[in-house]
Amino acid sequence: MFKIIWASIVYTFITLILTGIIYPCFVTFCAQMIFPYQANGSFIKNDAGQIVGSELIAQPFQNPIYFQPRPSAAGNGYDPTSSGGSNYAQTSQKLLDRISSDVARLQKENPQAVGSIPVELVTTSGSGLDPDLSPDGAEWQIPRVAAARGVTIERVKQVLDSAIDQPQFGFLGEPRVNVLKLNIALDHRFGVSSK
């Protein structure tokens, strides 16, 4: 019996060192050597060279000159230190109330929008940090962005079209648009100020 306990203790500490310390340190070393940009969080800079966020982490946008990401249930909204979804069931009164008020807000902010609201714009994602929209979700917002910037719908659409990522390798995932990169591209094309 004592023999087994001693063996357990030895194997505990050997595996702790091998898999708990050496393994993650080795992976970190390789990752930092080969993929430093990704391994450190994919932070991107604006035209002025300042870091404005991570391309993988959604951030809030309120100014009408920018496209807005999906609503967020992370903390008080877009809080990366508290990632997560709403966890509301389809039969939840709280879900219905939240979506109803978001619908009212979107209708008020987007009087010129065409067609009914894509459901992604009123549903929170699993992480609360979803950096993407579908092309439809972005296109629905174009009239607002164009009006706020004082440019034509077609010119905004051009920027959007060039920002669409197709499914990886042609079949994995859905077509999508990274909201932060799209907004940086807008500023690059039309400048930062509204009309």
Binding site: A7, G20, I21, F43, V52, Q93, L95
Partner: protein
């Protein structure tokens, strides 16, 4: 449902099918033959450890010795993690200065990771230091996976070995199995997996959390950490505990559809491969394919149901001016969409992984019922690494027994007679599970301290509680995460369910292996019921569904099924 969606699901299935045999052969070679790659580097580590531990790995163990080794080892590693979590404020790599984890949560978490459950009652990014994550938790991702595979292989040895009458009835050496699996299988694949994840954007660093200025001049604090290394073993070992609260829905854990695909692939790789390993051990690879086909049928039924259910709009929202053609997107990420979220939810709950890339709590009632049922069937549809194989073998024994009763012959499996003692152990295994789930669920749903944690009302509240105890007892670890499980009641009761669900079920399996190992083999005759053809697959799948349905149907009726009909009426709570 879209063509692109189906295409992705089919390609995933083909990829798993293609890798089943190579993976199975590799594991067989590592554990049952002296053919090992890279042995120049790895063998010295093993030898040194054996010397220190005073273990002779060539000396095989009986089932009792094997079980004692498993139990003591698991217990000691569990205590070490508990201590690491409690003392994390004194340990290194804690750039955010998190304080020690409270005792109830530390108990729950260390039980959770020791048992391969990886249920998480905490928010990783605001609770756990980098050291706790990698040395306290990811370490267990390796160990609990290796222990599971070791027990499955020991069980398979008991079933398939033909031991002469006077020879000792041994089923292998636990320490040798543990190290072989960790060093030859888990670590190399995890390193490759981690680097693939990083290449697409998963993070891997030890930096403190930076505070950045967003484009609109707001501030945002962004958690970092050694994520990819933990992510890759969490999937490969079917552990499932996320670095972040949002688990694999978090863009730093799974940034692209490709990383999502790799994650799902890693989850099924070992459980699928082990069926082939088993066939090799039984010297009849059909015995392994039979298990794989049965698993695939149950898996396919799950995927179709969830994909269908999640593609439908939420009827409650029909009165609003919304375009719901994209399906139910609450709790889902755009880069995965409905198809990959549905597929992932079935993969992760079939395989006892418990990682999530979308929030199961926000699934439609029927879409959320499938993950629940997958776990409730006993985590045998591929199942956890190792635990899936031995769980499935238990159902194989039951099926053989029932078939034997139907034709009035003594049942036998692989030439060994199944008798009273074996059936008692099988029954024990099958009965422990629903007791662990249903009793505490019932208690929680009437106690005030059980109800006060609920996030949703009506039948969905019951589903949240039922899912929690099913997930804990089945060692899955996914959740209807609206339930606030970080209370004393849930931390302790769920922690206990995890420990019982793991070890009370492992012990009958090892006892069964010991008992089968000692049996003499009888030659196959015309009257032998064959267990390597499609008739047996049909029988096996039916038995699994009947046992599962009889046990859990009443509870499911009160939860997801009644919720589904109320939803169609537009009722909200």
């Amino acid at each position: 449902m879209t063509i692109l969606g189906w295409l992705q699901i089919i390609i995933f299935c083909l990829a798993i099918l293609a890798l089943t045999k190579p993976m199975g052969v590799y594991i067989f070679n590592i554990l049952e033959t002296p053919h090992k790659p890279m042995s120049v580097v790895i063998e010295p580590i093993k030898t040194l450890t054996e010397k220190l531990a005073g273990v002779d790995s060539k000396q095989e163990q009986t089932w009792v010795e094997y079980a004692l080794s498993v139990m003591y080892f698991s217990m000691i590693t569990c205590v070490v993690t508990y201590v690491i979590l409690r003392l994390q404020d004194l340990l290194p790599l804690n750039p955010q200065k998190f304080s020690g984890v409270p005792s109830a949560l530390a108990f729950n978490t260390s039980s959770s990771f020791t048992t391969n459950t990886n249920w998480q009652a905490y928010t990783g990014e605001s609770t756990m230091s980098y050291f706790s994550q990698m040395a306290g938790l990811a370490w267990h991702n390796f160990l609990s996976a290796a222990v599971g595979i070791a027990v499955a292989i020991a069980c398979a040895r008991g079933f398939t070995r033909k031991i002469p009458k006077d020879a000792p009835k041994t089923i292998g050496n636990f320490w040798a199995d543990l190290m072989n699996i960790t060093l030859y299988v888990l670590i190399p694949i995890s390193i490759i997996g981690a680097l693939v994840l990083v290449s697409n954007g998963a993070i891997q660093n030890f930096s403190p959390y930076p505070e950045i200025r967003t484009m609109e001049n707001a501030t945002q604090t962004i958690p970092l950490g050694p994520v990819a290394s933990q992510e890759s073993i969490k999937q490969l070992g079917t552990n499932g505990g996320g670095f972040f609260n949002a688990n694999a829905a978090h863009p730093y854990e799974s940034p692209t559809p490709f990383t999502n695909f790799v994650s799902m692939f890693l989850i099924f790789l070992i459980p699928a491969g082990l069926t082939y390993t088993y066939g090799l051990m039984a010297k009849n690879s059909k015995q392994g394919w039979v298990l794989l086909i049965a698993m695939s049928i149950l898996f396919g039924m799950g995927v179709v149901t969830v994909y269908w259910a999640e593609s439908k709009p939420n009827p409650v929202l029909n009165s609003l001016p919304l375009n719901q053609t994209a399906g139910n997107l609450e709790g889902k990420e755009m880069r995965f969409g409905v198809a990959n979220s549905a597929l992932y939810s079935v993969v992760t709950t079939d395989a006892s992984c418990g990682a999530v890339n979308s929030m199961h709590d926000s699934f439609s009632p029927l879409g959320g019922m499938v993950p629940l049922l997958n776990i409730a069937l006993g985590e045998i549809i591929f199942g956890g690494v190792g635990s899936g194989l031995y769980g499935m073998l238990i159902f194989v024994m039951l099926s053989v027994f029932i078939a034997g009763l139907m034709v009035g012959r003594t049942p036998e499996y692989l030439g060994k007679k199944i008798e009273v003692k074996e059936m008692k152990l099988v029954t024990l295994y099958i009965l422990i599970f629903p007791i662990l789930i249903l009793l505490p669920s019932a208690w929680s749903s009437i106690a005030t301290y059980g109800q006060s944690s609920l996030n949703n009302g009506g039948p969905h509240g019951l589903s949240e509680i039922l899912y929690a105890f099913t997930s804990a007892s089945g060692n899955n670890g996914s959740a209807f995460a609206g339930l606030n499980a970080n209370t004393d009641w849930y931390n302790y009761s769920l922690g206990a369910c995890m420990l019982f669900g793991r070890f009370w079920m492992m012990l009958p399996v090892l006892a069964l292996a010991g008992s089968m190992a000692g049996k003499k083999t009888v030659p196959e005759s015309l009257g032998t019921f064959p267990t390597d053809n499609l008739t047996f697959v049909f029988l096996l799948v039916s038995i699994i569904l009947i046992v599962g349905a009889l046990t859990f149907f009443p509870a499911l009726c009160l939860g997801p099924i009644v919720e589904h009909f109320l939803l169609l009426k537009g009722k909200v709570f």
